[in-house]
C-alpha cells in the first residue's frame, strides 16, 4: 500500500470516529473495497492504539483517576444500569478495558491500602474477572473487556491467536517447500539472545535477495510499528544472522521497504518466487 492511500485511510478512520458512525471497519470496507478487511481492521486497531496512547497520559494522573473513580462509584450507588464503565469509556473516548483497569487499580488501592498491588495481580484479576470480590465492579469490568476489541485479555488472546495462526501458516509453507529452519523456541532453548520466528538453516533467495530469517507479523506495517520493530527486532536479527524477510500479513506501507538492499525485505504474503541454494547449478 502506498503511503498516500494509507494516509487516506487514516483520515477516513478519524472522520468516522469523530462522526460516531458505528462500525468503522464496515464503513471503511465500503470506501476501500479493494483493500482486504483484515488490513483495514489492523489499521483501525493501530489508530485506536494511537489514540489511547495519547489519552493515557492525560487520564493517568492521580487527580483524573480519582475523578473517574468517584464518578464510577457515584453512578453505581445511584443504581445506574450495569455498563457504567462502558458508557464512561465512550464518553471519554477511551478504551473500555483500559478504563476498567484504571478503575480496578484504584479500587484495589482504596479497598486495601496496605497491600502493595503489582501489575501481575491486576492482570490476573482482569484475566478472570470472577476473582474480583466487588460484584458490581466484577461485572462492570467484565462488560468492559467484552466491549473492547483492542485492549484487555480477550483482545490480547485473540491477537496472539491470530499471530500464532499466521506463524503456523508460514511454517506450513516452509514445510511444504522442504525448507529447513529453526523456530523461535528452539533458538531460545539454545541460548540465543534474539530470536526471529524462523531462522533458516540453509538460506534461500527471494527476488534475488538472500534470506536467512523470516519474521511473521500478523498486523499492518505502518511507519510507527515498523520503526520500533526495526529497532528492537529486525536490525538485531540482521546483525546476527544477516539479511532476512519480514512478512506483514495484513500489508504494509510500501515506502517502508527501504532496507531491501541492505538486507531487510518486506512482504505481505509468503513469497512465491524462491531460489534455492544449489551449489551444483553454478557449473
Amino acid at each position: 500500500m502506498k503511503l498516500q492511500q494509507y494516509t487516506e485511510i487514516q483520515k477516513t478512520i478519524n472522520d468516522i470516529y469523530s462522526n460516531g458512525e458505528g462500525n468503522v471497519v464496515v464503513a471503511l470496507n465500503k470506501k476501500f473495497p479493494d483493500i482486504k478487511k483484515t488490513t483495514l481492521g489492523s489499521i483501525c486497531t493501530q489508530e485506536i492504539q494511537r489514540k489511547v496512547k495519547k489519552r493515557y497520559h492525560r487520564l493517568n494522573t492521580p487527580e483524573k483517576t480519582q475523578e473517574i473513580f468517584m464518578s464510577y462509584t457515584t453512578q453505581v450507588e445511584d443504581g445506574e444500569a450495569p455498563g457504567v464503565l462502558v458508557r464512561m469509556a465512550q464518553e471519554l473516548d477511551y478504551s473500555p478495558a483500559m478504563l476498567a483497569k484504571l478503575v480496578l487499580e484504584h479500587h484495589l488501592k482504596t479497598t486495601c491500602p496496605d497491600v502493595n498491588i503489582n501489575k501481575s495481580q491486576i492482570n490476573s484479576l482482569l484475566r478472570d474477572t470472577t476473582l474480583i470480590d466487588d460484584r458490581d465492579l466484577s461485572y462492570e469490568v467484565y462488560l468492559c473487556l467484552l466491549e473492547d476489541d483492542v485492549y484487555g485479555p480477550f483482545a490480547d488472546s485473540i491477537k496472539h491467536s491470530i499471530g500464532q495462526e499466521y506463524e503456523f501458516l508460514l511454517r506450513q509453507e516452509l514445510d511444504k517447500l522442504n525448507i529447513v529452519y529453526h523456530d523461535e523456541d528452539e533458538l531460545r532453548s539454545r541460548g540465543y539472545d534474539k530470536t526471529p520466528d524462523i531462522k533458516l538453516d540453509i538460506p534461500i533467495a527471494v527476488d534475488g535477495h538472500v534470506i536467512n530469517w523470516i519474521e511473521s507479523k500478523a498486523s499492518f506495517g505502518d511507519e510507527e510499528s515498523h520503526r520500533s520493530y526495526l529497532k528492537d527486532q529486525f536490525w538485531s536479527y540482521w546483525n546476527r544472522f544477516g539479511p532476512g524477510l519480514v512478512i506483514y500479513w495484513f500489508g504494509f506501507i510500501e515506502e517502508l521497504d527501504e532496507h531491501r538492499e541492505k538486507g531487510i525485505m518486506l512482504r505481505d504474503s509468503f513469497p512465491n518466487s524462491i531460489t534455492f541454494m544449489d551449489p551444483l547449478s553454478m557449473n
Partner: protein
C-alpha cells in the same frame, strides 16, 4: 627534497665502488654511534636531528680518505676512478627548469630542516636524514675535492657547520654548470606531479589529485607539518601524521569535510589547469590560487615550450665507463638490500630515466650526470642490472617500462629482456577471494555467544543491547560519514560511552572487544580502501561475476578504478582508510582504558593464534589446487594479521603519540623509562617462530604493520630497537635472485643449507621493510648503526639471529655478486635454450631424482611418470624419490602481484611515474596520438550472471550462519577430494594415456623407418608433427577422463565423509548442501589444475622427448641394420630394453566420450566406478526438519485448515456474549439461537482438536464467558461433552462458578421465571461438575459462603438457596459425597441460611 632522498650513504658508494664488498659497507659508513641518549646524552644533544646528516657527510669523507690511503692507487687504475666520477658529476643547473620553480639550496635546506624539526612531513624527513643518490653524486664530489685540505672527524663538525644535509650545495652555487638536482621540475618532490605531466594528453580515466583549500581542513601533501597539526588534527588525540586527505591518524572530523561540490570544483579546475597550463589561472577563485602555491611549496610552473621533450640520445652519452661502474655499484646495492628502502631507489632510478631533455645543447661534457642523456643511460644501465628484480613487478608497470622509448634506445638488452618476459604467459592468477563478509555483520554463534557464556541473565541481556547498539552506530556511521560536516564524535560519542558504561564488567567487555575485532576483520580485511555503503547492486553483481569468470580482467579493472592514482610518494605514511576509520575513531572517541585493554588482549591472542598457524605446500609453483587453497588461506591469514597488528600497534602507541618535538633530554628520559616496558607481544619471539616454520613472510608483514604505528620514541627503546635490528637482519636475507642449486657458495665455502625466499616473497618483504625503515618515526640513521653499538637486548637479538641463520641461507658478498652475475648470464642465454632444457629434464629416462624440484617447470608431469610403477617397472626404486616434500611458505610462490599491491599500494607510484613520462614524451613526439581506448563492454546475459551471483551470496550466507567448523570441514573435504582426484589422475590415468601415446609414436617411427630405413630429417619432421597431434589427442582425452573421475569421486564418497565430520546438529539438508558444495568446488579445482597442467604443449614436450629417444634408438638400430644388412636381414625392429610394453588392457578411449558417460569397457575406468556403486554404508543421523512447539498438552494429529480458526471462534464467542450481556432480558432468540451456540461449541471443539495452531493460553481466558452462557438450557448439555472430552483440561475458572459475578449475570434478567430457570441450570451444571470432579464440594462451599457476604436482592437469595439445596440433594445421592458428611452438612446449612435470609428479607 629531491626525490631520491635515498638513504644511501656516500661512503657506502665510495667504498663499495672501489672494492665491491658490500658486506662491509655498513660499518664503513657508520656516522654516529647509535646509542640511546641515556647512555651518552651529550652526543645526542640538541644537534641530534639537525646534525645527523652533515656529520654523516663528514664521516663519509673521513671514511673515504682512509680507504683511499690504502687502496687509492690500485683502485683508481681498476675502476675508472669513482672519485673522479663523482667529482665530475656536478650538473648543469640553470638551464633546467624555469626560474620560478627553483628554490635556492639555502631555502631548500632551511625548509627541509623545518620539516624535520617539526617532525612531520615524511618528505622533509627524507631529505633531512637520509642521503640521496643525488646527494652523493653531487655532494660527495664537492667534499671529496676538499677532503685533503679539510679533513674532519666524525665527532667534530665545524662550529659553523652547515645546518642541513644539503648545505654543501651552497658552495657550488656559483657554478652555472651544475645539474641542479634540487630542480623541482627535473626531480620533483616525492609525490608531486612531475612537469611532464602537464603535457599529458587526455585519457579516459585520468585520476586527478585534489588539493582542497586549507579552509576545509583537509590536509594536503604539500602542507608543512605544523600547519597540519594546527588545523587538521585538533580533534585527534595523539595523532601525529597527517599526510593525505585520507589522513591516517586523523579522526573523522578533519578528514573529509570538504563538500562534494568543492571537490568537483577542484577537479574541474585541476583538469582545466592541466589542459591549458596557465590559461585558466584567471578564472580560478582566489583561494585556490593561494592554495596551490603555498609559500614554501614549489610551484609547478607549466612548461611553456612544447617541444622541450627532445629525445634523449645514446650517442650523446659521455663517460660510459664511469657511468657503467657507477651503475654496477648502485645496482648491487639495490639488489643486495644495502639501501634501506628499495622502493625509493627504484623510484629515483625511474625518475632519472624519465628526466626531461632540455633544448639547449649541453656543453658540460665533463660532468657525469650533467646531461639527461647521461642520466637516462645511467638509469637504463641500473635497470638492466636489476632486471631480475624488475621482473617481479606487475605486468602493467613492466609494459610501461618496456614501452618507454628510452629503454629501447639506451639498452636494447633490457628492452629485449622485458619484452620476452612480457611475452611469456602470465602466471595463472588465483585471486585471493576477498574474504569480506557478505553479511556485514558478525554472525551469532551459539557456542560462544549464548547465555552460557555470561555470568548472569542480566549481563547476557545487556550484551544483547551492547551488540545492537554497536551495529546501530555502524549504520549511523555508514550513512553519515561521507556527508560533509559530519562529526564522528558529535554523532556517536554519547552512544559509545553509554555502550561501554552500560555494563563495564570484564565479561561483557571481552565479549564486546571480540565482537569489535571480528567486525573489524569482516569489514576491512582484504581491500583496505574500499567502502561502498551504497553500492549499486547490479553493478556489484556484474563485478562479482567478472571476478569469478575473468579474474585477470577484474583485477585490471579493479586496479584501474580503485587504486588511487598517487599515494603520496614511494614511501607514504601509514593511513587508516575506508572502514578502518570507523574503528579508529571508535577507539579514539571511546577513550576507554578498560576497553582498550580488553581489545588489546583480544588482538594479541588473535594475532598469535593466526601467526602460529603453519602452512605447507607441496609444490613451489602454483597450480595444484590444494596448494592454491593453502596459499589462499595463508594470504587471508596474512591480510588479517596485518589488520589486527595495525590496530594493536595503534592501541599500543596511542598514549605516546605526540606532535611535539621532543627535546633531547626529554627524549632520553622517555627512552629510559620505556625501555623497561615489554611490548604486548614478543615480536622477536614471533619472528623466531615464523623463521623456524619457514614463514617469515607471514611474521614480518604483521610486525612491520605493527611497528609502522610507532610513536617517535618507541623505536629508540630497548625492546623495539632489538626488533628493528632483527628486521634489519631479515632484510639482509632477502636476495631477489634465488641462488642456483643448493650447494652453497664456492668462494666462502659455506654451505647454504637453509631455505631461500621465493623471489616475489622476497620482494614483498623488501618493500615492506624498506617502507618501515623510511617512515618518519623510524630513528634517523638507525639503519646504518652497528649492532654492537646499539642498546639492545643482545641475548634476544643473537637468539633471533641464530634462528634466522639456521633456517635461512645467507649469502656472503661474493656469493651475492656471483648470484647477480650468473643471473645476468642466465638472463641472456635463458630464452632460446630454456625450452630444450626443460624438455630434457622432463624426460623420464633421465634420473629425475637428482633434479631439484625448483628447476622442473612441470613437476606434475615428471611425477606422474615416475610415480607409475607399471610404466617404468625397471625404475621402481625411484618412486620413493618422489616422496612429496613440503615447502614452507617462504620458499613457495606465495606472494602474488595482487598481494603486493594490497600490502604495498605505493608500488603503483612507479607505474604512475612511467605513465606520466610516457604520455608526456609521446605527446611531444607523436602529437599526442596515444590515446588509451577503453572498449565499452556490455554486460551480457544478465540472468546468468545474477544467478551465479545469487548462488554465491547464498553460499556465503549459509556459511555465515553455520558454526565455523562447517566451512572448515567443507573446505577440508574439498581439499582432500580434489587432491585425491588429481593424484589418481597423475598415478593412474596419465601414465596409461601416455603409454598409449608412446606406443602410437613407436608405431609411427617404426612405420617411417620401414619406408625410409636410413631415417634422417624427413622422418624426424614427420615424427614431430605426429607428436603434436598425439599430444593434443592425449590432452583432450585426459581432460575428458578428469571430468569423469571427479564426477565419480564427488558423487559417491563425499556424503558419508561429510556426515561424519560435520557437527551433529546440522540438518540433513545442510549436509546435502555441503556435499553439493564439495562436489562443485572439487570439480572447479580439478578443472583449474587440468587447465594449467594438462595442456597439449606439455604433452607435446613430454612426448617429444620420448620421440627423440625412440628416434635415436630407431636410428641406431637402423644404422646397425644397414651395416648388417648384407649379412642378415631378420632383425627389423630394434630390441630395446628401455622400451616398455604396452599395457594390454589400456584402451585409448574415444575423445568424444562425454565426461559423464560411463565407459565400462575400460579397465581403468571400471576400477574407479566400482566404489561408486557400493557407497559405504554410513548412516546419516536423521534430522528433523522442525520440532513442534512444546506447551500444548494436546496436539492435533493433523491440521485441517477448514476447521474454524481459533481467533475466529474466540471472536464469535465474544460477540455473542456481548450481545447477551448488553441486552439482558431481551428476546435473544433472534440473535443468539440454539443452533448458533451449538455451532460455536462445536467450533470450539473442532478448532481445539483439529488445528495445530492453537495457543493454549488464549482459551482459559475466554472460558468464563462459556460458563455464563448457562442461562441457555442447551448449554449445559453442550458443556458437558466438552468437559468430558477433555479438550480443555481443568480450566481454572470453573472453580469460581458460583461467584458474585455469575449471580449478577442471573440477576440481569428481570424475568423471575427466567431467573428460576437459570438457577435450575446452574444447579444442574454444578451437579454435573461435581460428579465429573471438575469441582470439589469444598470449593463450592467456599464460594457459597463468600457469596453470602454480599447483600443480595430477595429473589436472588432464594434462587441461590434453591440452587444449593438442589445441589446438595443431588450430591447426597452420590456415594462418595456421603462420606464427606461435614461438607454436606455445611452445604445444607448454606442453603438453609439462604432460605432464612430469604424469609428475613420478606419480613423486612
Amino acid at each position: 627534497m629531491l626525490y631520491g632522498s635515498s638513504s644511501f650513504v656516500v661512503g657506502s658508494v665510495l667504498q663499495s665502488s672501489s672494492e665491491v664488498t658490500p658486506s662491509k659497507v655498513p660499518s664503513s659508513v657508520r656516522v654516529t654511534k647509535y646509542v640511546s641518549p641515556r647512555k651518552t646524552p651529550a652526543s645526542r644533544g640538541n644537534h641530534r636531528r639537525r646534525q645527523h646528516c652533515s656529520s654523516r657527510a663528514k664521516s663519509l669523507m673521513f671514511a673515504e680518505s682512509s680507504s683511499k690511503d690504502t687502496t687509492s692507487s690500485s683502485d683508481e687504475s681498476k675502476v675508472p676512478a669513482v672519485e673522479q666520477l663523482l667529482r665530475e658529476s656536478s650538473l648543469p643547473g640553470d638551464n633546467w627548469g624555469s626560474p620560478g620553480s627553483r628554490v635556492s639550496p639555502r631555502e631548500r635546506t632551511h625548509r627541509s630542516k623545518r620539516h624535520s624539526s617539526e617532525g612531520s612531513d615524511h618528505r622533509g624527513k627524507h631529505s633531512e636524514q637520509r642521503l640521496v643518490l643525488g646527494d652523493f653524486i653531487t655532494s660527495g664530489v664537492k667534499q671529496s675535492k676538499k677532503k685533503g685540505s679539510h679533513p674532519q672527524g666524525i665527532t667534530s663538525p665545524p662550529a659553523d657547520s652547515r645546518p642541513g644535509s644539503n648545505s654543501w650545495s651552497l658552495r657550488r652555487q656559483g657554478s652555472p654548470q651544475v645539474l641542479d638536482l634540487s630542480d623541482q621540475e627535473a626531480f620533483p618532490v616525492v609525490g608531486a606531479t612531475p612537469p611532464s605531466q602537464e603535457r599529458q594528453p587526455k585519457r579516459r580515466i585520468n585520476p586527478t589529485r585534489i588539493l582542497s583549500p586549507p579552509g576545509t581542513g583537509t590536509s594536503t601533501p604539500h602542507h608543512s607539518k605544523g600547519k597540519l597539526f594546527g588545523e587538521g588534527s585538533k580533534a585527534v588525540f595523539g595523532v601525529p601524521y597527517c599526510q593525505s586527505p585520507s589522513s591516517p591518524f586523523l579522526a573523522g572530523e578533519g578528514g573529509s569535510s570538504s563538500t562534494l561540490e568543492e571537490e568537483r570544483e577542484l577537479l574541474r579546475l585541476e583538469r582545466l589547469k592541466r589542459q591549458g597550463g596557465d590559461s585558466v589561472s584567471g578564472g580560478k577563485p582566489e583561494k585556490l590560487v593561494a592554495q596551490e602555491s603555498p609559500p614554501n611549496q614549489v610551484i609547478q610552473k607549466p612548461v611553456e615550450r612544447t617541444t622541450d621533450h627532445l629525445k634523449a640520445l645514446p650517442d650523446l652519452v659521455t663517460n660510459h665507463s664511469c657511468l657503467d661502474a657507477l651503475a654496477e655499484v648502485y645496482a648491487n646495492l639495490i639488489l643486495h638490500s644495502f639501501a634501506p628502502n628499495l622502493m625509493v631507489e627504484l623510484y629515483y632510478t625511474l625518475q632519472l630515466l624519465t628526466v626531461p631533455v632540455m633544448e639547449e645543447p649541453e656543453e658540460s661534457s665533463g660532468i657525469l650526470l650533467g646531461t639527461a642523456h647521461n642520466c637516462v643511460y645511467f638509469a637504463a644501465s641500473v635497470l638492466f642490472r636489476v632486471v631480475s628484480l624488475l621482473k617481479l613487478l606487475d605486468r602493467g608497470t613492466l609494459k610501461l617500462l618496456c614501452e618507454n622509448p628510452r629503454v629501447a634506445a639506451f639498452s636494447e638488452e633490457l628492452h629485449r629482456l622485458l619484452l620476452e618476459h612480457l611475452e611469456r604467459p602470465p602466471p595463472a592468477s588465483f585471486l585471493t577471494q576477498a574474504p569480506k563478509s557478505p553479511i556485514g555483520g558478525v554472525s551469532f554463534q551459539s557456542d560462544t555467544d549464548n547465555r552460557n557464556n555470561f555470568p548472569s541473565d542480566q549481563a547476557f541481556h545487556l550484551f544483547r543491547k551492547q551488540r545492537d547498539s554497536f551495529y546501530e552506530m555502524l549504520r549511523v556511521w555508514e550513512e553519515g560519514h561521507l556527508i560533509p560536516g559530519w562529526s564522528f564524535s558529535r554523532a556517536l560519542s554519547s552512544r559509545i560511552h553509554s555502550l561501554l558504561q552500560i555494563c563495564p564488567s570484564p565479561t561483557n567487555l571481552v565479549h564486546f572487544a571480540r565482537l569489535f575485532q571480528s567486525q573489524l576483520l569482516a569489514m576491512c580485511r582484504g581491500d583496505d580502501d574500499q567502502c561502498h555503503p551504497n553500492q549499486d547492486q547490479e553493478v556489484q553483481g556484474v563485478l562479482t561475476v567478472l571476478r569469478r569468470q575473468h579474474p585477470e580482467k577484474y583485477k585490471r579493472l579493479y586496479e584501474r578504478l580503485v587504486t588511487p592514482a598517487q599515494l603520496g610518494g614511494p614511501c607514504p605514511a601509514p593511513s587508516f582508510s575506508g572502514s578502518q576509520e570507523f574503528f579508529r575513531d571508535f577507539i579514539i572517541t571511546a577513550a576507554s582504558f578498560p576497553f582498550n585493554q580488553h581489545l588489546k588482549d583480544v588482538l594479541v591472542s588473535q594475532i598469535l593464534m593466526l601467526s602460529e598457524q603453519e602452512f605447507f605446500t607441496m609444490e613451489q609453483e602454483e597450480g595444484d589446487p590444494v596448494d592454491n587453497m593453502v596459499r589462499e588461506e595463508a594470504r587471508s591469514v596474512v591480510l588479517s594479521l596485518r589488520l589486527l597488528a595495525k590496530f594493536l600497534g595503534f592501541l599500543e602507541f596511542l598514549p605516546y603519540q605526540t606532535s611535539e618535538h621532543l627535546k633531547e633530554n626529554v627524549l632520553a628520559s622517555q627512552i629510559a623509562l620505556r625501555s623497561k616496558v615489554c611490548p604486548p607481544v614478543s615480536l622477536c619471539g614471533a619472528l623466531r617462530r615464523c623463521a623456524a616454520a619457514g614463514q617469515l613472510v607471514v611474521g614480518v608483514t604483521w610486525v612491520v604493520e605493527l611497528l609502522s604505528m610507532v610513536d617517535p620514541v618507541a623505536l629508540h627503546t630497548y625492546h623495539y630497537l632489538t626488533v628493528v635490528m632483527a628486521l634489519r637482519e631479515v632484510l639482509r636475507l632477502l636476495p631477489v635472485v634465488r641462488p642456483e642449486g643448493e650447494t652453497g657458495c664456492s668462494s666462502c665455502g659455506r654451505a647454504c643449507a637453509g631455505k631461500t625466499f621465493a623471489p616475489s616473497n622476497s620482494l614483498l618483504l623488501k618493500l615492506l621493510l624498506g617502507w618501515l625503515f623510511d617512515l618518519p618515526n623510524f630513528p634517523d640513521g638507525l639503519f646504518f648503526v652497528e649492532v654492537s653499538e646499539a642498546d639492545i637486548d643482545h641475548q634476544e637479538y643473537s637468539l633471533t639471529l641464530t634462528t634466522l641463520n639456521t633456517h635461512y641461507s645467507r649469502l656472503c658478498g661474493v656469493c651475492l655478486s656471483l648470484v647477480g652475475h650468473t643471473a645476468h648470464i642466465k638472463l641472456e642465454k635463458e630464452t632460446p635454450q630454456q625450452d630444450a632444457m626443460s624438455i630434457g629434464e622432463l624426460s623420464p629416462t633421465k634420473n629425475c631424482a637428482s633434479f631439484s624440484p625448483l628447476k622442473t617447470p612441470s613437476k606434475a608431469l615428471v611425477m606422474s611418470m615416475v610415480e607409475t610403477p607399471q610404466v617404468t617397472p625397471l625404475k621402481g626404486a625411484e618412486t620413493q624419490v618422489v616422496t612429496e616434500t613440503t615447502h614452507t611458505l617462504d620458499e613457495a610462490l606465495f606472494v602474488d602481484h595482487q598481494m603486493i599491491t594490497l600490502c604495498c599500494p605505493f608500488v603503483s607510484e612507479l607505474k604512475n611515474l612511467l605513465n606520466e613520462s610516457l604520455l608526456g614524451v609521446a605527446g611531444s613526439n607523436k602529437g599526442g596520438s596515444t590515446f588509451r581506448k577503453i572498449t565499452p563492454h556490455s554486460a551480457s546475459d544478465k540472468s546468468v550472471h545474477s544467478h551465479l551471483q545469487l548462488q554465491m551470496q547464498l553460499e556465503d550466507n549459509f556459511f555465515h550462519n553455520q558454526p565455523t567448523s562447517v566451512r572448515k570441514t567443507t573446505d577440508f573435504v574439498v581439499e582432500r577430494v580434489s587432491s585425491n582426484v588429481i593424484k589418481t589422475l597423475r598415478c593412474q590415468v596419465l601414465p596409461s594415456l601416455r603409454e598409449a601415446a608412446v606406443e602410437k609414436l613407436k608405431a609411427v617411427i617404426a612405420e617411417q623407418f620401414q619406408s625410409t630405413p636410413q631415417g634422417g630429417e624427413r622422418v624426424r619432421d614427420v615424427v614431430q608433427q605426429r607428436v603434436v597431434e598425439v599430444g593434443r589427442e592425449v590432452s583432450e582425452e585426459a581432460r575428458a577422463r578428469c571430468g569423469q573421475i571427479t564426477h565419480q569421486h564427488c558423487n559417491g564418497e563425499v556424503e558419508p565423509a561429510l556426515a561424519l565430520l560435520l557437527p551433529p546438529d546440522i540438518s540433513s539438508q545442510g549436509v546435502e548442501v555441503c556435499r553439493k558444495l564439495v562436489s562443485r568446488c572439487s570439480r572447479e579445482k580439478v578443472a583449474a589444475w587440468v587447465q594449467s597442467h594438462l595442456t597439449p604443449t606439455l604433452f607435446c614436450k613430454d612426448l617429444a622427448a620420448d620421440a627423440d629417444r625412440l628416434l635415436r634408438q630407431a636410428q641406431k638400430a637402423a644404422d646397425l641394420q644397414a651395416a648388417a644388412q648384407q649379412r642378415s636381414s631378420t632383425e627389423v625392429t630394434p630390441s630395446n630394453s628401455e622400451c616398455v610394453e604396452v599395457c594390454p588392457g589400456v584402451v585409448v578411449m574415444d575423445v568424444s566420450t562425454a565426461s559423464h558417460s560411463r565407459t565400462p569397457q575400460s579397465p581403468l575406468d571400471h576400477s574407479f566406478s566400482s566404489p561408486v556403486h557400493q557407497p559405504r554404508q554410513l548412516q546419516l543421523l536423521s534430522k528433523k526438519a522442525t520440532t513442534p512447539p512444546e506447551g500444548l498438552p494436546l496436539k492435533a494429529k493433523e491440521h485441517l485448515a477448514e476447521a474454524p480458526a481459533p481467533s475466529l471462534v474466540l471472536n464469535t464467542i465474544k460477540s455473542i456474549l456481548r450481545e447477551v450481556t448488553s441486552s439482558p432480558g431481551s428476546d435473544l432468540s433472534g440473535l443468539v439461537t440454539r443452533e448458533l451456540l451449538l455451532t460455536i461449541t462445536g467450533d470450539v471443539r473442532r478448532s481445539l482438536s483439529q488445528r495445530q495452531d492453537v495457543l493454549l493460553t488464549s482459551h482459559p481466558v475466554c472460558v468464563p464467558p462459556l460458563i455464563t452462557s448457562e442461562i441457555q438450557e442447551e448449554f449445559v448439555s453442550l458443556w458437558r461433552p466438552v468437559a468430558l472430552g477433555g479438550v480443555l483440561p481443568s480450566p481454572a475458572c470453573l472453580g469460581s462458578i458460583l461467584c458474585p459475578r455469575t449471580v449478577m449475570l442471573v440477576a440481569q434478567n428481570p424475568n423471575v421465571t427466567h431467573q428460576k430457570l437459570s438457577w435450575k441450570k446452574i444447579e444442574e451444571l454444578i451437579c454435573l461438575l461435581l460428579t465429573t470432579e471438575l469441582l470439589t464440594p469444598a470449593t463450592l462451599l467456599d464460594h457459597s459462603v463468600a457469596l453470602l457476604r454480599h447483600s443480595w436482592p430477595q429473589e436472588i437469595l432464594s434462587g441461590i438457596s434453591v440452587c444449593i439445596e438442589g445441589v446438595t440433594r443431588t450430591a447426597l445421592k452420590q456415594k462418595e459425597f456421603q462420606d464427606d458428611s461435614t461438607l454436606m452438612q455445611m452445604l445444607d446449612w448454606v442453603g438453609w441460611v439462604c432460605e432464612q435470609m430469604d424469609d428475613l428479607g420478606e419480613d423486612f
